[in-house]
Symmetry: C2
Subunit: 345 residues, 2 copies
């Protein structure tokens, strides 16, 4: 801990942004005493979407997320749908597409409206049904007025992966698929928070993806070599992590990036790059070249994957870098430090 950089004596919003500052905090502090990975346990040291624990001949995936989104209700979703989807998706990203069950812990501010809580709970119930799972255990805490801004939720989840998929499997030549349009969640939340008046054009994509991922794995089998959901930090952060862990560069084709016109307009208005904005109903898949077409077609045949695209390819050059081919030239894609998007999920 003595290696702490100067000026880091206090936690900043960037430490929750999903980018390099957060990874640094997790690596230097949270994972430091807990990184003793073993043959039967792939835990915090791997910094993946969840942990893998050996149970007999199978791998159990275990994952958790807290949700602090503001506002609690936003176009296309709410904190309950976000929490269930986030955990179902983290399980799916590691290959566990049939959750055994979820936990849900709610922390409420004294005075929180019971009616809002009922709406959130109804959304949790509906999203669980959509994903084919249940909340099996929970907890309730209440903090005093002014001690918490409304409500935060934590969900954890467990599920078996017949064949675990990690986020470090990329090799040169692998194709990068995205299951749909980019930036919808982050811009829907920001537009509502700043009252941009963009009406119903901007809607969060928040959704449980386990059915979509099941279809992709059925089509691609072992050729699906890496998966990650581009939440906080967006596609830029997710691909940086996947590229660094796989030891490859990622070359994206700008013309192939699916971005809705309303998202593009709002991003320009707010000075944001859709590549750096959170998605809550999208996945990135790294697929061996010979299976890419088959997996893409399987994605596009699913209601949640109609806008799926092949957006890039892995290269042996510039390992760890994400490069955008704009059609006129190439530029490095930077990771957001994220101070502009606090409490996006």
């Amino acid at each position: 801990m003595s290696a702490r950089p100067p000026g880091e004596a206090r936690i900043g919003l960037r430490h929750g942004a999903g980018g390099p500052a957060m990874r640094g905090l997790v690596e230097s502090l949270f994972a430091a005493g807990q990184r003793e990975d073993a043959p039967d346990r792939i835990g915090l040291g791997a910094l993946d979407d969840g942990a893998l624990l050996r149970v007999g001949a199978r791998w159990l995936v275990f994952t958790t997320d807290s949700h602090v989104v503001k506002p609690v209700f936003f176009p296309g979703g709410d904190i309950g749908r976000l929490a269930v989807s986030g955990t179902v998706n983290d399980l799916a990203m590691m290959g566990a597409t049939e959750p055994l069950g979820l936990s849900c812990s709610v922390i409420l501010e004294e005075g929180f409206e019971r009616e809002a809580l009922e709406r959130i709970q109804a959304s949790i119930d509906a999203t669980c049904r959509e994903a084919g799972t249940f909340v099996v255990t929970g907890d309730t805490k209440v903090m005093g007025r002014g001690e918490l801004d409304g409500v935060v939720l934590n969900t954890a989840g467990i599920g078996f992966a017949e064949r675990p998929v990690r986020d470090d499997g990329l090799r040169p030549g692998d194709r990068i698929l995205v299951t749909g349009t980019l930036g919808d969640h982050g811009l829907a939340v920001m537009a509502r928070r700043h009252d941009l008046g963009l009406g119903e054009e901007l809607r969060s994509d928040v959704a449980p993806l386990n059915g979509l991922v099941r279809a992709a794995l059925a089509a691609g089998g072992e050729a699906v070599v890496a998966m990650k959901d581009p939440t906080r930090g967006g596609v830029a952060s997710a691909l940086h992590e996947m590229a660094a862990k796989g030891g490859v560069g990622v070359l994206l084709q700008e013309a192939e990036l699916p971005v809705r016109p309303a998202v593009r307009a709002a991003a320009e208005l707010l000075g944001l790059d859709p590549l750096q904005v959170a998605n809550e109903g999208k996945a990135l898949l790294g697929v061996r070249p010979e299976a890419a077409k088959r997996v893409l077609e399987a994605l596009q045949a699913h209601p949640l994957g109609r806008d799926a695209r092949c957006i890039g390819v892995c290269t042996p050059e510039r390992p760890g870098a994400v490069i955008l081919d704009t059609g006129f030239g190439r530029r490095l894609v930077a990771e957001a430090e994220g101070e502009l998007l606090p409490r996006i999920c």
Copy 2:
């Protein structure tokens, strides 16, 4: 939801107190859409310390808790030790004494001191070592200044129970054992919060109990028929739940209740009943009469069980009631509504 009582339009501190108001909220709202228990899934409908999920021939226990204790550091412990112990203990109460792993999600207020976070993390690491487990997955969120009072932690945990123990197994004649003194955690936190100046005499009992429970189960086997840790709401709430679910009355002997003199003094000063105050390193065990002595001796032989006592017996009369025999007569033990002890864990 239309049956909501008048005056319940907003959440109050009592909804987080571990007593009847919280149980009502969980039953009427959180569990309502998720209570479809099945032969292979004992979930929210059972309102136990955690869920039981069938995996092949075994039962997997899954549990979660959020911790919002104030202050974060208190005599005898801190929020990190509390979170790990709380989850390890919930697993142990259902018979899973060797956790597969824990998740840990931290939500921080912008500006939280890095040094305090390092102390909390060191405590998490140390408590995990004590319990023989690891944090295998986690999450970090940051809220803005004034949006959260410092830090809250969520931990979830999983572990196999070779023989699950529920909280509903009490029958008339069963003995009630407690593994040590009562009220230490709640009064240590309250004394620190109110600056009572009781110095080091009041210390929280927060500790992982899985080793102690393992010893009890080894000694008692199937004769250990019910377990629960008396956290929020104290022994009074825990025994009320166990008595109601088992359909028995519980008759306690006041002379046998182990309470430290400093705890008794502080409780009197604050107008609290040690039976209603949270413990974080104690368990209640319901044991068949023929095995009670054997289990009690096994508890007392363990460093965390030296003050274990047999404090009562289950009766066929007054199912659901907890009755205290004072030596001069009998009185009903009430559950605390808990408004006096917000953020005790």
